[in-house]
Amino acid sequence: MANEGGSIAAAQSRTGRKAPARPSRLVFPFSAIVGQDEMKLALLISAVDPSVGGVLVFGDRGTGKSTTVRALAALLPPMQAVAGCPFACDPAKPGDLCEACRTAARRVAISVPVPVVDLPLGATEDRVTGALDIERALAEGVKAFEPGLLARAHRGFLYIDEVNLLEDHIVDLLLDVAASGENVVEREGISVRHPARFVLIGSGNPEEGELRPQLTDRFGLAVEVRTPRDLPTRIEVVRRRDLFDRDPKRFTAAWAKEEAATRTRILAARRLLPKVSVPDAALEAAARLCLALGTDGLRGELTLMRTARALAALEGDREVTVAHLRRVAAPALRHRLRRDPLDEAVAGTRVERALAEVLPP
C-alpha cells in the first residue's frame, strides 16, 4: 500500500493541467431568477454552512433547476487554498491537509474560486475517483496521480443533474466517499488517498424515476420545485430569459449590483454563523416537530437546527427562533418521512400539517 511519495509531489507541480477552465460563458445571474424561493434559499444556506449536507432539487421540467445551481457557482465568494495543491487544501486548517501539503517545506496561500464541479451522466469511474496520469507515465515513466472530479470538488460543490439517472456503480462510489470524506484510489501498483469533502447538489425530475433511498439520505435539504402558475411570474421568467439570451453581457451587467449584494450577504452570514445561538426553546420545538413527523434518527433534528441557524445568520439574527424553524422545516425534513401508503398528501404537505399542530403560529 505504501506509495512512492515523490510521485504525488510530482503531481502537485502541475495542478489541474487537464482540468478544463471554468467555462467563461456568462451564466444567468442568481439574483435574476424569478420566484423559486425555497430552492434559492436552500442553496444559499448550503453556501453559508456546508455542513448542512447538500441540496436535492426535484421537480417539473423547465423550472430552471440547473440554471439556478450554475448561477450559484458564479456567485460564491472565493476561498483560500494552498497554491499548487490539486485538492485545494485549506491553509487555515493544518489538520485537513493532504499528504503532500503536510510535508511541504512551505505553503503559499492563494485565493481561488470555490469549485462547483459537474458530474455528467456517462462519466466513468476513473474520472470520478481519479487515476494514474497515463501521459506522464508514458512520457516520463513516472507514476503520477491524475485527480478526478472528487478531488476537484473538495471544499466546494459536486453537482449532478438528473441524479436519479446516475449509474448505480457511480452512486455506490459517491456514497462511500461522502460517508468517509476520503477518496482512495488504487491502480497500477500505487495507492492514493486524499480528502474529498464536498456539498452534494442533485437535481432531477421524479417522473424519470425515484432516487435510491441511501442517496436521498445523503442530502441535507430536499426542495420541490413547481412551474409557476400565475401569469405575471411566468411572463417575467420568459422575459428575463429572453433578454439574457439576446444580450447576456448587458443582462449580467444590469444585475451585477444585486449579485454583489447577495455575495456580501453570504459572507456576512458566514461571519455571523458561529455567533448565532440556539436557545433551548428552539431545540425543544425542533425535537417536538421531528417526533410528530416520526423522522428516523437524529439526523433530521440536527439538519433542522443547522439549517435554521444558517437561515438566522443569513437574516442577520443572532438567535434561532421558531419562525426560522418554520421556514426551513419542509426542506430539512420532507425527504426523511417514512412513506405512508395510506396518506395521499405529498411530503411537504405533511410537514406543514405537523407544523400547524406542533408549532402553531
Binding site: T63, P120, L121, E186, D242, R246, K257
Partner: protein
C-alpha cells in the same frame, strides 16, 4: 381542408424546416412524427439545403453507447499509437450542425438525459476513460418518431426542448428548391419582437393549458426566426401566428374557453438597472395579440382534440418510463446489459472485452517498459471490466384489479395501498408496477409500467368502480403488458385481484357461461408463456371458479377475503421471483 381555409399543414411543416435552418440552436430542433418515406425525406432535404454548406449532419443510431455519444478513448488508435488517443463523440462532432435521431420513440431515458444536458449547456462534458474535456456542442436535434401507437413518442425531456412537433403522416410536402439561408441568419440577432410578444405568448400558452415555460420561450424565438426569414427586422402578427401554430398548438392540453382568457397581468417591476426600453406600444395591445395567437394555435389543432389530448396524456405517462423499447436480447435469464463495471472475474461473470481492452490499451507502453518480455498485449486485473445486467432489478408487477360490483371501491383502495407499499419498498431493486382495472365492458390500463411513485399515486387517484365484470378483457390487457415487459428483458409478475364472478364475455356481451369460458381461455396463454402469476380471491366466500382460473393461469391461488394493503404487498413480495 380547402385551399382557402387558412394555412396548410404541409406549408407550415416546410416553414418549420426553414425556421430551424435560421436558428437551429435557439429552436433546439423538431420531432418529426412520420413513417420513413418521401414526406420525411423531403422535410430533411429542405432543412439540409437551408443550412450553410458543410454543416455537420450526424445520425444518432438507437442504443448508441456512451463511448460513441459522448466520446472517449479510441481503442484501435490507442493500441496502434501506444498512447491514449481521444475520439470525439457524435454530440461533439455535430457542433454547428444537425443530429438526426432515428426511432426516437425508442430512445432510452438515459440517452435522452445526456443529450438534454448538452443542449442546455452547449458543450459536452467528457469525463471518460481518463479524458477530461469540455467540447463545444451546439446543434439542433431532429427526432424521427416512427411510433404508431399514441403512447410511443420520443422522451419527454427531449420533446420539451425541441420547438417543433410535426406530424407528417399523410402529408405531401411541396417541392422546394431551397438554398442556404444566410441572410436570415445574419439578420436574426437584430430582429425586434416588441415588448408585448413575451406577454402574449405566455398568455396564449396558459389558455392552451401549456405548463412548461420552455414553450412560450421557443415560440418567441420561432417568431423572430420567421421575421428574419422574411427579411424583416421586426416581428409581425403573421410571424407570431406561425410560431403559435408550430410551437404552441402541438403542446396544447386543453381547448381554450372564453372565460379562461385572463385579464392582462401587471408584470412585477423589474429592478432599477433593468428598466428596459418601455416604448409606446406600436402593435396591438398584448391582450388582443394573445387572442390572435390563441386563435391561430386553435385553428391548427386537429379535429377531435379531446380524444387526441387523452392519447397525448397516455403518451406523456408512458414516455417517462425508463427502458429501451424493443431491446430484444436473450434477456429473460440475464437481464438487459446496462454498461460495465470494474471487478474481479469470477465464474458466472461475463467479461466486457472491449471495455477491458480500452482500459488496458493506454498502459501497454508502460508495461512493456517494465517488463520487455511478455505477451504482446498485457491485461492486468485492474483493467478487467464486467458486463452489468439489469436482471435483479427487472420485475414488473402488473396489478389487475376487478373494479366491478359492490366491493370494488374497497378492493381498489387496497390494491392502491399495496401498489404504493410495493413501490416504496422496491426502489433499490428498481421494480416497476403497472395497474389494469376492468369493469363495465372492458379493461383500462390505468398505469403503464413505471418505477415512479409520484406517477403511480397520480394515476391511482380517482379510480372509478362498479358495474359488471369483463374478466377476460382484464386478463388479456394484463397479458399484453406482461409480454411487452418480458420482451424488454424484465420479469413480469401478474397479480389478479378478483372475486372471479365473470359475467361479460370478450365481445362485450353479458352472460356468465360465455364470460367464464372466455376468461379461462384468456388465462391459458399466461401459463403457456410461463408468466408468474398470483390470483387473490377477494370474495367474502371463496368461489371455485376463481380457483379454476388460477389453475388455468398457472397462478398461485391466495384467498384473502379481506385483502388489506399490508397483507397484499406481503403476498406479492413473497411471490416475486428470486433475484
Amino acid at each position: 381542408m380547402s385551399t382557402e381555409a387558412g394555412p396548410q399543414p404541409a406549408d407550415d411543416a416546410v416553414q418549420a424546416a426553414l425556421l430551424l435552418a435560421v436558428d437551429p440552436v435557439g429552436l433546439g430542433g423538431a420531432v418529426l412524427r412520420a413513417p420513413a418515406g418521401p414526406a420525411r425525406d423531403a422535410w430533411l432535404a429542405v432543412l439540409r439545403a437551408g443550412l450553410p454548406a458543410a454543416s455537420p449532419w450526424r445520425r444518432l443510431p438507437l442504443g448508441v453507447p456512451d463511448s460513441r455519444l459522448l466520446g472517449g478513448l479510441d481503442l484501435s488508435a490507442t493500441l496502434a499509437a501506444g498512447r491514449p488517443v481521444a475520439e470525439r463523440g457524435i454530440l461533439a462532432e455535430a457542433d454547428r450542425g444537425i443530429i438526426v435521431a432515428a426511432m426516437a420513440e425508442r430512445l432510452e431515458a438515459a440517452t435522452a438525459a445526456r443529450i438534454a444536458a448538452v443542449m442546455d449547456s452547449g458543450q459536452v462534458a467528457v469525463q471518460r476513460d481518463g479524458l477530461s474535456d469540455n467540447l463545444p456542442s451546439r446543434f439542433a436535434l431532429v427526432a424521427l418518431d416512427e411510433g404508431v401507437a399514441p403512447e410511443e413518442v420520443a422522451p419527454a425531456s427531449l420533446r420539451a426542448r425541441l420547438a417543433f412537433h410535426l406530424d407528417l403522416t399523410g402529408l405531401r410536402l411541396p417541392a422546394l428548391a431551397a438554398e442556404p439561408i444566410l441572410a436570415a441568419r445574419a439578420l436574426l440577432p437584430d430582429v425586434e419582437a416588441g415588448d408585448d410578444l413575451p406577454e402574449a405568448m405566455c398568455g396564449a400558452a396558459a389558455s392552451l393549458g401549456i405548463d412548461d415555460l420552455r414553450a412560450p420561450l421557443l415560440a418567441l424565438r420561432a417568431a423572430r426566426a420567421a421575421a428574419a426569414l422574411a427579411g424583416r427586422a421586426r416581428v409581425t402578427k403573421e410571424d407570431a401566428e406561425l410560431a403559435a401554430r408550430l410551437v404552441l398548438a402541438p403542446r396544447a392540453t386543453m381547448v381554450p374557453t372564453e372565460e379562461s382568457a385572463e385579464p392582462p397581468p401587471e408584470p412585477p417591476p423589474p429592478p432599477d438597472d433593468q428598466s428596459e426600453q418601455k416604448e409606446p406600444d406600436r402593435g396591438p395591445d398584448p391582450k388582443e395579440l394573445q387572442e390572435m395567437l390563441v386563435a391561430a394555435a386553435q385553428a391548427a389543432l386537429p379535429s377531435g382534440l379531446l380524444e387526441a389530448l387523452q392519447l397525448r396524456e397516455a403518451a406523456r405517462r408512458r414516455s417517462a418510463t425508463d427502458g429501451k423499447a424493443g431491446a430484444r436480447r436473450n434477456a429473460a435469464r440475464r437481464g438487459r446489459p446496462v454498461g460495465t463495471r470494474a471487478g474481479q472475474l469470477r465464474s458466472g461473470d461475463r467479461l466486457a472485452l472491449v471495455e477491458t481492452l480500452r482500459n488496458a490499451a493506454p498502459w501497454q507502453a508502460v508495461r512493456r517498459r517494465e517488463n520487455p518480455h511478455g505477451p504482446p498485449i498485457r491485461v492486468r486485473k485492474e483493467d478487467i471490466r464486467l458486463r452489468r445486467f439489469r436482471h435483479k432489478a427487472g420485475t414488473t408487477a402488473i396489478f389487475v384489479v376487478d373494479a366491478s360490483g359492490s366491493s370494488a371501491l374497497h378492493r381498489l383502495a387496497e390494491a392502491k395501498g399495496a401498489v404504493e407499499m410495493l413501490l416504496a419498498d422496491c426502489y433499490v431493486r428498481r421494480d416497476q408496477v403497472a395497474v389494469v382495472a376492468f369493469r363495465g365492458r372492458g379493461a383500462d390500463v390505468l398505469l403503464p409500467p413505471t418505477p415512479s411513485l409520484v406517477r403511480a399515486k397520480r394515476s391511482l387517484a380517482g379510480l372509478p368502480g362498479g358495474g359488471p365484470t369483463p374478466l377476460a378483457a382484464g386478463i388479456d390487457a394484463a397479458a399484453a403488458i406482461a409480454t411487452e415487459a418480458a420482451r424488454r428483458g424484465r420479469t413480469p409478475l401478474l397479480v389478479l385481484l378478483t372475486d372471479g364472478r365473470a359475467n361479460i364475455a370478450r365481445d362485450g356481451t353479458p352472460g356468465r357461461p360465455a364470460a367464464e369460458e372466455d376468461a379461462l381461455s384468456a388465462a391459458v396463454p399466461i401459463r403457456n408463456a410461463g408468466i408468474p402469476a398470483l390470483l387473490v380471491d377477494t370474495a367474502p366466500r371463496p368461489h371455485p371458479f376463481a380457483k379454476r382460473i388460477a389453475e388455468a393461469m398457472g397462478a398461485r391461488y391466495v384467498p384473502l377475503p379481506a385483502a388489506d394493503a399490508g397483507r397484499l404487498s406481503t403476498a406479492v413480495a413473497a411471490a416475486r421471483p428470486a433475484g
